[in-house]
Amino acid sequence: MSPESLSALSLSIRVALLATALNAAIGIPLAYLLARRRFPGKTAVDLLVTLPLVLPPTVTGFYLIVLLGRRGWLGGPLYSATGWSITFTWYAAVVAATVMALPLLVRTARAAIESVDRDLERAAHTLGRSEWRTALEVTLPLARNGIIAGLVLAFARALGEFGATLMLAGNIPGRTATVPLSIYTAVQTGESGEALGLVALLTGLSCAVLLVAGRLGARLH
């Protein structure tokens, strides 16, 4: 395998792991709030998180540029203050993958949390637990299977992300060219052998993720 392919693979795995970690940090609390709390703007939050699931990834990527690009709402002030922009860095690939994977985790985890019997939470409250402790000790452990399934889906989605990554991070070999982007480049430049290798690698990796997740799920059930 060429050094370019290896670098693409290592980048893809780094991006997917980091995106999954960010998903866990943002998505699990968000899923809990959507499942258990009523708050103003809940419908809007729900819609915003879910949109990347139905929009073309390039559209999501476009919004990310509007938000984070050098002239973006957040990226603009940051660029003028520090001279640094996230676009065309590997962090941009992480952001793109995180946003694209988030709805999969949030929807799966939310359904799992909603299926936890509320009397269990009420029992914990009468036994002295705050809502926060109840979530940590009762609700989330009981929703564990659904949350893990959601994280696996999020990881797989992050690993395969293409469109939004291309928009925000570009396709710079050795810096932002993840495996899916490298496959595209290889096909475009006629290096079909290189493409085939990467395709096989990504397919194998995805199968491994699904098998491990299946085992894990079976053991937890």
Partner: protein, 387 residues
Amino acid sequence: MGGPRTTPQSPPGSARLQVAIGKHLPGFALDVRWTAGDGVAVLFGPSGAGKSLTLACLAGLVRPDAGRIVLDDRVLFDAAAGVDVPPQRRRVGYVFQGYALFPHLSVAENVGFGLRDRPKAERARRVAEVIERLGLGGLEARRPAELSGGQRQRVALGRALAIDPALLLLDEPLSALDLPLRRALRDELRATLADLRTAAVVVTHDFTEAYRLGDRIVVYEDGRVVQAAPRSELLWQPASEAVARIMAIPNVLHGTVVKATPDRIQLRWRGQLLEAVNSPARAYLPPPDARLAFFIRPEYVRLIRKDRGLADPTHHMNVMHGTVVEEMDFGTTWMLRIRLDEPGEPAQGAFDLEVEVPHLVYEILEIERDRRWEFSIHRGSIHVLPG
């Protein structure tokens, strides 16, 4: 349970728990007021009457719109004063319908769940004590899924009792069990509650259960309290026809008043002149010709033996004649449905009275063969229901 009791003992007879709350939900309004002393109070009534909602308010899981809840001089809730003690600080043990045991925790972890603030050694001692007390020894490491229904109920009770609650709430504690187990556990639960001497509130829609478990019964209907009384008073003196119907008392009938005195009430029903005892406690004096509801307990109707000659007016009163038109075998007793000889529409569809006789009596009198009977009802067994 061992250990010093921290609950101040109220003087006997005084109310330990005072409840007066209102809560409006879409399509339902709860507006109840009752008190309970030491011992077990049962909230009894049909499903959807607001019993479980009341428990949730007592535990602080649902916030009432109005009213006050006072437990042992501790104000748990007061809408006017803005007091609402959160469930975490009410020290109220709650046994949920279906038990709500934590499925991912062992029996010992479930029982010890409410003791997190205590030192480890004390927690272990308390868990061991409760497990011993409820006969759960040997099951400490089991998960709830590996327990029988009766064991689950005891774990739920143990988990609620471990925190040494000032008040114990039980929501349909037996409804998740099979019938044979249900009877055994009902009596076991009664013994446990009597031993504890913790004030307890039990919700049930089964009158037998209410009567077995409760010292005092609060009857709910449609979000309101229709009667609150010691259990024997409720059994013999339901406050109204509505209460009698909720209790599923058979033979709730309607007659017209002929004459009412503080001792007796004469009434006309299906062409018969009946005489009933007026309740000395609450003498009820309806005017003549007023419509009057009353009930006759099926086990207090006496069939008159035909081999003993004519009915003796000094022993038998309220004598009637009728035919058995239907009978039901309940194993140890028979329920006979009797239609009076009087012409006209029977009082209860195809029959006028339900009469319960023990199996032995059924055989001795050869009721299977003989369908026409003369029977009598003592005046003390006709219970007038104030309107």
